[in-house]
């Protein structure tokens, strides 16, 4: 085929490409380069080679102690929230795909929290769950149950963060699944019914294969999105969170903007980024295996 060069397609993507380059590609590359330097934000950066990475493996370095525990906390969070965010939103999407009373009201209700910022979402829940004046504590007490220390006692601290996250972010996946469900041909359900499939059978054999592409997209974006957890612990504890809920980006922020060790902070995010690429690649392979 004879392809002639045309400027027009490039013009069309130019606005996005520009923003993408300025705000994503450039910082990513700069961050990568920065990870090989010692830089305190002010004086001239000093090249230190792989030292910032080496510190992550040196058991005498602060970064070793903090990086692995905080990264562990992030992973724990990803492992808990990603399946919940997918299963619950898919369940709700299927439920609200049926004709029912107040369907649009419920659709709105489940989606609405997404528009809130993390600050607002956390502040709302912080007051709902507050031990002394919160409404949850009040009703637990009225029912004769023990008040729960949602924000200061294990394992409730994690539970609180997970609840807030799910309530807050459910809507995004919910919308994607709603759209995906529309694409599944009605005839397939009818055919399945004729073959004698019950609800579960229809879900397993028609719905799931039908929304496979949506599922892949949701899985990858949710996983990557949850790796970015930062705001929930930060807001709930005003920046002074307990060790067991300090996630990697909280520590990176501390290293970069409290201790001014930009190089070490960059190195940690590079490792985090590579981990995310690897996980996404694995997810891609698994989902495509039987395509």
């Amino acid at each position: 085929m004879n392809k002639k060069f045309s400027i027009f397609p490039y013009l069309f993507i130019a606005p996005h490409l520009l923003l993408f380059t300025v705000f994503l590609i450039t910082p990513t590359i700069t961050g990568f380069i920065m990870s090989f330097f010692k830089w305190d934000y002010i004086t001239k950066p000093v090249f230190v080679g792989l030292k910032n990475y080496g510190n992550l493996l040196d058991s005498n370095a602060i970064d070793y102690l903090k990086f692995w525990t905080t990264f562990g906390n992030t992973l724990k969070f990803v492992v808990i929230t990603v399946p919940l965010l997918i299963i619950i939103s898919l369940f709700l999407a299927i439920l609200l795909n049926e004709k029912m009373v107040l369907r649009n009201f419920f659709r709105f209700t489940f989606y609405a929290p997404v528009v809130l910022s993390v600050t607002v979402a956390c502040m709302i829940w912080r007051w709902i769950l507050e031990d002394n004046v919160g409404i949850v504590g009040y009703y637990l007490n009225a029912l004769g149950l023990q008040r729960i220390h949602w924000l200061s006692q294990d394992p409730y601290i994690w539970l609180t963060i997970v609840i807030i996250t799910i309530w807050w972010l459910l809507g995004t996946n919910f919308i994607f699944f709603m759209a995906g469900l529309q694409e599944v041909p009605k005839e397939l359900y009818e055919a399945a019914e004729i073959d004698g499939a019950k609800a579960w059978g229809k879900f397993w054999n028609v719905t799931l294969p039908g929304i496979k592409r949506t599922m892949f997209f949701v899985l990858v974006t949710t996983t990557l999105g949850q790796f970015n957890i930062f705001g929930q612990p930060y807001i709930l504890y005003g920046g002074r969170m307990p060790d067991n809920v300090q996630v990697l980006l909280n520590y990176v922020y501390q290293v970069a903007f409290d201790s001014y060790r930009m190089g070490s902070a960059a190195a940690m995010t590079v490792i985090m980024g590579i981990t995310m690429v690897v996980i996404s690649a694995v997810q891609y392979k698994l989902m495509r295996a039987d395509d």
Binding site: D63, L129, S152, R240, Y253
Partner: protein, 456 residues
Amino acid sequence: MRKVHGIKMLLAIVVVVSLLGTVMSGCGGSSQPKTEEKKQAATEQAPAAAAAEKKAAEPEFKNVEINYWNVFTGADGKGMQVIVDAFNKENEGKIKVNAQIIAAADMYNKLVTAVASGTAPNIGIMHLDRILEFQKKGILLEADPMVNTLGLKESEFPSMLWNASVIDGKRYGIPLDTHLFGLYYNVDMLKEAGITELPKTKDEFVAACQKMTKDTNGDGKIDQWGTSINPNWPSTGIFWGWAAQLGAKLCLENGETPDWDGPAGVEAAQFMYDLIYKYKVSPENLPPDGNISLFKQKKVAFEMNGIWQITDYRSQKDLNFATAPFPQIGSSNASWAGSHHFVFYKQKNADATKLAAAVKFAGYVSDHSLDWAKAGQVPARNSVRNSEEFKALKDVYGFAQGLDSAYFFPKTIYKADIFDNPNPPVMQSILTNKAKPEAALKDAVDKAKKAVAAKK
């Protein structure tokens, strides 16, 4: 079919890269809270009524605009704005101060780049415990000439405050105020328990707390507490004060070795633990700010917190509270404190007129710091603190009586590494009964030392 796959693959890559970008772009993602609040000082366009009298040595100011950065995001921001507005009105046509309120953490991150790029403010507020750090970074002007211009003398300030910003014999700041920890107490509860004098020792403190800890409605549960020790903030502030009372320096002279894991620190932390779990005069496992809501609900008698909390408690209409210096449990009555100083930033293009205007403004605020006291700060100027008007501000005055024992962090450029970062989590784990004080403090100090070492 292959082509479709190619597109899908491409799409997937774009999604991955773009999401990744948000992470790698240096933690500047949208998930970061932006508490930053900017305000422009809007001068009223009132007719130039009262032209201020001119001092002899003062240069001629004509439409000089200066920028002023401060960190007063709380109720104190309004108090400062009142003073700025008054200054602008008095100097209409001559000097206009543009005040910008920026959350402290953001401001400190911006300063260095602002100075480097020539957009630094002419004058700013800096916390005393950050001055050494920024002086070392070379962005501050020496303030000795400014102090001379204003004719300020040591005799007008508490000496520890006056000397606090002197580094290698040179001054870098002009003290504006002190914000220190103190005691808020519920007057009614003390009266009901028959306590006429505030406790002066550890034992008296415990006894008073025990007297006021009780079950008021007879349901078998304690619902009124002597005090409240929150595992979260402000536990660290209380800890620093009590550890200092018991003999800890918090950080040694070298400015890089924390000593709050020594016997004094352990004793202070143990006492805080005991108040919750041994004497049972404080609720367990309070959530962030739980101490504040309990005190406002009139369920706690002694609340130890910083003076900045004053406006919040004042706004609780039916709360009958008074203030006093921080409770003493050790050999001194030290209370952890901070201080706001005026500093002057290096400019790319130095402008003597602007600098003179900034100096005049600093002098004005210092002279008018009674207005500042109303917003809940203890003014640095002795003349203001000794005035009858100030003494009439009973709640602020209660704190001011503890001023002589205000304990500032020792000079260090590693404040975040030795205090701000390691202290809160270790207090959380001790006070939620997850770790024993001695081992936990030792571990935290070990980490703090490693964090200092990582910067070298």
